[in-house]
Symmetry: C2
Subunit: 352 residues, 2 copies
DNA sequence: GTGAAAGCGCTAACAG
DNA sequence: CTGTTAGCGCTTTCAC
């Protein structure tokens, strides 16, 4: 059982030891049908005994397939994206593939750099959340790709998967309406980003459909961080004209910030002010009150992305846009307005 | 500029177009010193124009180095491990390497399976958090490895990096003592796991050093989930002999559960009961009150692990055990005991 | 400085 | 069913 040069054994070693040719050994090792049962058995035994491990590099070089998939997301440490990555990784494992993971930090240069690494590694394909600007690299990436996230619609010729924002916003607004909140304040992200534009447009359409003037909804903006949400909430409460009784935040982190701000301001959530988030991050469950939110199908985005990518690689399908439904998570940050505990100047509730 | 067969161009295409031999092209492309400046320039230009991208597979096959690193953690979707992964990935990127990420779900079979994938992919090395039991595969993995996490000490011959639990527990207990909590209740993980044994031993030593009988500390156990923490807290409060005024949980999730339980029970945190966590997950910041905790250096574990691995690969160093310090994060779940708000039967505070 | 040639470990025709 | 023969694209002696 001595290994020839204390290097890991190659198929040649196995073939020699089994007294067959390279090809027969190869066939046995890859479960090809045309091998004598005796030969196969012997080769497999020898391989086992030698601790033979197929060299995937050589295999890939020859076959043109590496079994590796690239994943480029903004930030692996962000719970939403970590969840997406986990989904992609599970599905990859199920298909016998491996996942190369990169974080772009919303930075176009880094994204380009990672794409280059993927191309050099000759991955079979990639799942990418393109950064907002200057993603022209995406077009000439020259490898099968699936886009995830909202910016996907700029690349009509590629498959993509995202969450159904329209449906998500709709269930959120409907649920708010059931609580009597017809004109929630909006906590939006930075201007000019596709995600914000989309969110706002959906709210707009929804209001119009319900006969509400969208312009009457108070709007503040943040940058998707807890701190920005906290500050935005403070600004909202400070508005002289129209103190706010309900807030719909464009993401959970800002919603959490809003809840913190309310506590600091001595206002009760949800009795005084209701807060609704959007994302579904686990942290929302531990806030006080628990954050009610519209959850995006993060993990499913990862698995579905991988499924689409496989199709793209196999050439089974040209391209397709998949939208996955969001679902509502009720946890306690929503209530009917309760005037009792409010200071008088805040009792002009316009949604009662 | 026409690509020969619409396949991505190889070094042969470039060499031909530049009117030099394969070897010269290769030298130019890899910044070798012995190339005429003129040749180098032309090759580089042609390569650029053709959009040539070095085939890493072929390169690796020849050189024996892939520039790929494997990372096997329990769960990529767990915020702590996601943070570790991010650290490893950053450091990998800095060194021009790529990261193959796998989740084992604390399952030995899956771990073995992933290790095999790594070996077949001929990664240069791997960073692994071994599952508790049956990790004999680890020994005969036959590739440079760095272990992360508490179970590392079972493999003395390998480099490893973990958090300095002893130091972390010490600062936690010291801070508790400053608040007058000398005999906190302990919320531990499942029995017989190394992590628990270690945590408990450190607390034990610390108490002895302070002249406190470790046996007097109330103990409950959970399985590191929020729900188990909640239930454990309820059990603690229910203890007739010695109602609890302070809890030190072995991880943040259970601590969060404890805070939720207190709220349900109508007890105030921290005035009635103080809660201290261990981990430093971001979610702790959004609880009410914010969870005070001992934070493990998650990201640093990733970066340091990668640094150690590089040494192991280069053969610079045989093996080394690195312990990274924890740090204290004060957020509001700790206070001096306040008898005022307590029901009479809970006023027998033994730490006052 | 440059080119010719060998070969990393494997798969894929093509004959037998 | 099995062996022989070419390479996959690149690095790396070794001559010139």
């Amino acid at each position: 059982m001595a290994d020839r040069k204390s290097r890991s054994p190659t198929i040649i070693d196995i073939a020699a030891a089994a007294g067959v040719s390279k090809s027969t050994a190869a066939r046995a090792l890859s479960n090809a049908p045309n091998v004598a049962e005796a030969s196969r058995k012997r080769v497999l035994e020898i391989a086992e005994a030698y601790g033979y491990e197929r060299n995937h590099l050589a295999r890939s070089l020859r076959s043109g397939r590496t079994g590796m998939i690239g994943l480029v997301i903004p930030d692996l440490a962000n719970p939403f994206w970590a969840e997406v990555a986990r989904g992609a990784q599970d599905e990859a494992a199920r298909r016998g593939a491996s996942l190369l993971v990169f974080s772009s930090d919303w930075n176009a240069d880094r994204e380009a750099q990672h794409l280059r690494a993927l191309r050099q590694a000759r991955v079979d394909g990639a799942i990418i959340n393109p950064v907002a600007d200057g993603s022209d690299d995406i077009h000439r990436a020259g490898l099968p790709m699936v886009l995830i996230g909202s910016s996907a619609e700029r690349f009509a010729q590629l498959s993509s998967v995202g969450s159904n924002i329209a449906q998500g916003v709709a269930i959120g607004l409907n649920r708010l309406a059931e609580f009597g909140h017809l004109q929630p304040a909006l906590l939006l992200g930075p201007p000019n980003r596709l995600a914000r534009v989309r969110f706002q447009r959906v709210v707009h359409d929804h209001c119009v459909a319900r006969g509400i003037d969208p312009a009457t909804l108070p709007v503040e903006e943040g940058d998707y961080t807890v701190e920005s949400g906290r500050r935005a909430m403070i600004r909202l409460i400070g508005r002289a004209e129209q103190p706010v009784r309900c807030v719909f935040a464009a993401n959970d982190l800002m919603a959490l910030g809003a809840i913190l701000a309310l506590r600091d301001l001595g206002l009760r959530c949800p009795q005084d002010v209701s807060v609704l988030g959007f994302d579904g991050i686990p942290a929302g469950a531990y806030a006080a009150p628990g954050l009610t939110t519209v959850a995006k199908p993060a993990r499913a985005i990862g698995t579905e992305g991988m499924a689409l990518l496989t199709e793209a690689i196999d050439g089974t399908l040209d391209h397709r846009r998949v939208l996955l439904d969001c679902h509502f998570v009720e946890r306690g940050s929503l209530a009917r307005p309760d005037h009792a505990g409010l200071p008088p100047e805040m009792r002009n509730d316009h949604a009662a």
